[in-house]
Symmetry: C2
Subunit: 210 residues, 2 copies
DNA sequence: CTATGTGAATTTATTCACAGCA
DNA sequence: TGCTGTGAATAAATTCACATAG
């Protein structure tokens, strides 16, 4: 095991590899080469080998990778080797969709609570989760939830985040199109849907410009 | 105007700058310095100046940037100087949320049609848009829609994309957690919600490991 | 005098080419 | 022999420092 710094881009690709490995496993495969995994993940084979090499390498020369072992290693690196509970703040259109999103369980995530500040929504259930008053975010502590997903309007984002941090949340997936300020120890990943769409026209050759 | 290659990361930041400029403008500002814009966008001032320098620079030395002018320049670069029509494929939980998503109009996007292959949904309306049979994607041509958003299950993504490309769509925002294959001229941007969440635990110091 | 614009330096990430192990 | 693992080379992006224009 070598102790070089792990590139952020490598960490970004690990969940992708994990998903592909689960797919391979479901299809009955026991092992895969870097070439085979690369094809499914749509990256280069050397990129995969390099990425794994930062952690010491997980393969067997001349053979490839044992899927069960590799899956376990990546889960451990990403700390996905235990189920993570998360809470959702903001049960609007997007929030409701995220509550029902099937992809989270691929990685062992479970949304255990939902909050909103619209009194018309509080008390209602979306799937298995009852919507609670956003002012009760502070009550989370005993549950030891470390992750949160926020899908509130930009104007409400900072306040929601402050409450979550106060309640002990350590990582936030932010869908609000705004920068939020957090203490150094807290990690925020922002998905800004509209800005992603906004750079699409740049790459489209003009002429068919709508 | 200099003609160096534009870094992808610069293009990724331009929509963010645009959003911040719109905000500044709404607040009555007429001009802004790289320092001021940097604060709102949460990037470094020199990064902003460098980004703009790839296009020749838009500022006035000793003064800053005229917000109206800069907004126009960025819109032109990103080809957001005209309204873009887009279609949605997949009107499930996520798709419905995207149909109602208010952020798209910040950049002048309009979703003009929605498709699904669930006969129970076809014919119903979500907001102003009537859900059409996915087999009718081919009928798009006369409308000259160049952008599409897909929010279908992974298994259905490639077929949806093939139909869209056939119908003349040039750019796709893909929410399906799977690699899709397209001709070279077509640009795909994938937002993989679960893989973003999946790298969050990596950055959270252990101990509070849920 | 102020804040931009940009070469140059540095850091980070990707790609290559092949040594080394099963 | 085959496929991994990795140092070295290349490419890309960020950061710096300051000359330059208003």
């Amino acid at each position: 095991m070598r102790y070089r710094r792990i590139p952020n881009e490598t960490v970004r690709r690990l969940p992708l590899y994990l998903r592909c490995l689960l797919l391979l496993s479901q299809n009955g495969n026991k092992s895969v080469s870097s070439e085979g995994l690369a094809r499914i993940a749509n990256v280069n084979a050397w990129q995969i080998r390099k990425d794994f090499s930062y952690f010491g390498g997980f393969g067997i020369r001349g053979f490839g990778y044992d899927i069960g072992n590799l899956t376990g290693q990546i889960r451990k690196i990403l700390r996905l080797d235990a189920v993570h509970n998360a809470v959702l703040v903001g049960v609007g259109n997007l929030g409701s969709a995220l509550l029902a999103y099937p992809g989270f369980k691929t990685y062992g995530f479970r949304i255990v609570a939902a909050f909103d500040n619209d009194s018309g929504k509080i008390g209602k259930k979306v799937g298995d989760v009852k919507i609670e008053d956003a002012r009760r975010i502070g009550m989370l502590k005993p549950k030891c939830v470390t992750l949160a997903i926020i899908a509130v309007p930009a104007a409400a984002a900072q306040q929601a985040v402050d409450s979550l941090v106060e309640a002990g949340v350590k990582g936030i997936l932010n869908f609000s199109p705004v920068h939020i300020t957090v203490p150094k120890k807290i990690k925020v990943i922002t998905i800004d849907i509209a800005t992603e769409l906004a750079r699409l026209p740049y790459y489209i050759p003009s002429g068919g410009k709508e």
